[in-house]
Amino acid sequence: MNGILVTCMLALALAIIVVRRRFVGIALLAAQALALGIIAIDLAGGRSEDFLVASLLLLSKAVVLPLLLYLLIRRTPEARPVAAAASPMVRLLGAGAVALCAVLLIPPLGIGDAHTEHTSVALVLVGITIVIARRPILFQLLGLIVAENGLSLLAVSVPGGLSYVVEFGALFDLALIVTVAAAFAQRIHSDLGTGDTELLRGLRD
């Protein structure tokens, strides 16, 4: 079952690259986080600490973050759809190529089973590809969170579990980044009227 969920996460990440509406993107992210949480709880076994960590992970990433992002898009309505950098098919193919390269090139890390390893690295790289391929600010933020999801997947699949201090630290970092990025997104939206990062180029001298 874990294997299916892991593949699901990757598929959801690839889906985020093609969708047009921000709401759908956030929903996909929430689903991905849900899958991650279920995997974490499953792998926790009987250990109570890991259980605690897993449930917190689930809560924050599947519930709190998407809520925050939903509030953000409510406050920053887009008048027109943002012009895309490239057509959805191209984006999908590009992301697929990146994921494939990652799977082929990554040497065995020896942390967990091979399938999870490959998928987590692919998730990180697909997350960076989302940042490159999408223009609206929100999607860039989503790409960052997807990359972080990949790292969390790797962390939870380490045999013996990861220290909860590390997990808390990572969660805190993520919360901070998302808050700051949301504040900036709001500011850019109020200044430029849209979340299109291409317009930010004009700020350069």
Binding site: A102, P107, I128, I132, Q140, E198, R204
Partner: protein
């Protein structure tokens, strides 16, 4: 001997006290305390030099602070003290009233401390720390004294060039420490030619930049003129010498077997510095910049002597290697003394007339007799005229070069002959340059109103300059007394050279009887001058083809060097614009503007700076300001690393 060590330590502590005192608004007493401290350090230096012993810790290559003195450092420390004490006495009357005087006074003390620290350092860390301090303190003092655009650009060029070139010092010393060669020439000899070449080249570039060899000299004429007078005196007098001390230590003491090419390289660098320095000194209008360029010339003469010494020791000729080394040390000593005197004199002239422009001075010998007299002695000494000290050391260097030609095989002898011709031409050029400088500043009729009302500075400044002038005369009259000590300082010195009295007697030359010559010339001049007779008519105007002699007919700094500028046009490349205004068939006015740019600035520095800026502009194109581009760079990098890891290149 612990007594000397205590004296040195006491000197250092007193110096620190003096700096603090100067900073807390008791400027004059602070400077006096600093002078007393320098006297203590000078006593320690002279005692170590005369006794020939070593005090403190020996040199070592491991990390750990250690200080000590040996006869070579003792000589430089004594020299530092002999030039710093008159400078501090001068600064006592010169500094108060200038902007930020207490801070500049304190920084002077720190500067002296860093100079003494470099000379006493016995390990890599302390040497490099004091070296950097020695570089940075004058920059701070220059910016404190004046913040205008010229000072800021001068300090920028100074720090940039000394650090870029000074990287050589770091490389040389760290390579030496790595091989365990500090203080142990055998270690470098066993380290192989590759390491030796690296250390030799790096030391030549690094110490050469700080000493002012051409082509790494560009900071000197920018930094020295904008510093306060007493600090310029210390920078030109002692900072360059400390750089030469470092060069001597690395290339002579620690390098093991000296490579043959190093002596020739020093000869070449010395020749270029001599000729270039004095040529560009000739075309300067600013007095301090002229003195700065002439420092480059004198450092070139030292390099010639050091190169000759290396060539002799490479050929196994011990006597002449020692004599050439003594010639270099004597030139270092003499230059420190008369350059300090000249810069202090320039400071006094600036204070009295408010201008350093040669075309705005004149007639100051009769209005400021003490300053003018000391300045005249300094100018004659640096022009290399008997019986003063400049001629004594130049004579020794010329003798060394003549004997290079006589004793060495063909290739090296021809190089020596070229160097000999170049040095003779340099001596004549220096004569031209300083005859012009002295004539424009001291003789004739004053060119501005303020000049006509100038008067002598306070007693302290006069006493300082008179003391240095007396030192010039004493060193010129009795250099032979110093010669055995200096020749004994050469590394691997052979049989000691005997002192045959005050004059210079070296084998293979008619001797230079300093006392006899000085006495003869002075006595004969006195007799003939008194035989002039009393029958004189009243003074009358000088001959100007029958027309009245008006100020417009007077000669400026450019006129005197015009024949030379015309002859050497292809090297100096002067630029001039002349505008003649006609009205009604008659010339109404003529406007003339002439300029000589430093050739190396245009040929070497400007292209380098332009290329650097163009490369930076190219690199800037990768900075798009767009997050997506940066993320793309990141992805590309990760992919490339994965590929490399996969193909096993990264292992």
């Amino acid at each position: 001997m612990p007594l000397l060590a205590w004296a040195a330590l006491a000197g250092v502590a007193t110096l620190a006290c003096g700096s603090i005192l100067a900073a807390t608004d008791r400027l004059r007493s602070g400077l006096m305390v600093q002078a007393a401290a320098m006297a203590l350090l000078g006593v320690a230096g002279v005692a170590v030099l005369a006794g020939g012993q070593t005090i403190g810790a020996p040199f070592h290559s491991t990390v750990g602070l250690a200080f000590g003195l040996d006869p070579l450092s003792g000589l430089f420390l004594a020299l530092l003290s002999f030039t710093a004490i008159p400078t501090l006495l001068f600064a006592r009357d010169y500094l108060p009233g200038r902007p930020h005087a207490p801070a500049v006074g304190a920084l002077t003390g720190v500067f002296l401390l860093s100079l003494a620290g470099v000379l006493a350092a016995r390990d890599v860390v302390s040497f490099l720390v004091f070296w950097e301090l020695m570089t940075l303190v004058p920059a701070a003092a220059i910016l404190l004294a004046g913040r205008d655009r010229e000072a800021r650009s001068a300090v920028y060029a100074y720090i940039a060039i000394t650090h870029l070139g000074g990287a050589g010092v770091w490389i040389a010393l760290l390579a030496l420490a790595h091989h365990g060669g500090i203080g142990d020439p055998a270690a470098m000899a066993s380290a192989g030619t590759g390491a030796q070449t690296l250390v030799a080249v790096a030391a030549l570039i690094g110490f050469g930049t700080k000493a002012g060899f051409i082509p790494l000299h560009s900071w000197l004429p920018r930094a020295h003129p904008v510093a306060p007078a007493h600090l310029s005196a210390l920078m030109s007098g002692m900072m360059l010498k400390v750089a030469l001390y470092g060069l001597i230590r690395v290339e002579f003491d620690w390098l093991g077997t000296t490579p043959r090419w190093l002596g020739l390289a020093l000869l070449a660098v010395g020749l270029c510095s001599c000729l270039g320095g004095v040529l560009w000194a000739l075309v300067q209008r600013d007095l301090k910049r002229l003195l700065a360029y002439s420092s480059i010339e004198n450092v070139g003469i030292v390099a010639l002597a050091l190169g000759a010494s290396l060539l002799f020791s490479g050929a196994g000729d011990r006597t002449w290697a020692d004599i050439a080394f003594a010639a270099a040390l004597l030139q270092i000593t003499n230059h420190a003394v008369f350059k300090t005197l000249l810069f202090l004199g320039a400071g006094a002239l600036d204070r009295a007339t408010g201008s350093m422009d040669l075309d705005h001075l004149g007639g100051l010998l009769r209005r400021m007799p003490w300053t003018g007299g000391a300045f005249l002695v300094g100018g004659m000494a640096i022009a290399g005229l008997p019986p003063l000290n400049g001629f004594a050391s130049e004579w020794l260097v010329l003798q060394s070069l003549v004997h290079v030609v006589i004793r060495e095989p063909l290739g090296i002898a021809l190089a020596g002959a070229l160097a000999l011709g170049g040095l003779a031409a340099t001596a004549a050029l220096a004569l031209l340059c300083f005859a012009q400088m002295l004539g424009l500043t001291l003789l004739g009729v004053p060119r501005t109103q303020r000049c006509a009302q100038a008067c002598d500075p306070p007693v302290g400044m006069r006493a300082a300059m008179a003391a240095l002038a007396l030192m010039c005369v004493a060193l010129g009259l009795a250099p032979g007394l110093l010669l055995p000590t200096l020749a004994g300082l050469a590394p691997g010195a052979g049989a000691p050279v005997a002192a045959l009295g005050a004059g210079l007697h070296v084998p293979g030359s008619g001797s230079y009887p300093t006392l006899g010559l000085a006495l003869a010339i002075a006595a004969l001049t006195g007799v003939l001058a008194s035989a002039r007779g009393k029958r004189r008519a009243a003074p009358s105007a000088s001959w100007a083809c029958g027309q009245p002699f008006v100020p417009a007919l007077r000669w400026s700094s450019e006129s005197f060097t015009k024949p030379l500028r015309l002859v050497l046009e292809s090297i100096l490349r002067p630029r001039r614009t002349i505008e003649v205004t006609h009205a009604g068939g008659m010339v109404q006015s003529v406007s003339y503007e002439g300029e000589v740019h430093s050739l190396l600035d245009r040929a070497l520095y400007e292209p380098t700076v332009r290329t650097g800026l163009r490369a930076a502009a190219l690199a800037r194109r990768t900075q798009s300001g767009n997050v997506r581009t940066y993320a793309a760079y990141l992805l590309g990098l990760v992919m490339a690393l994965l590929v490399l890891a996969q193909t096993g290149i990264l292992g």
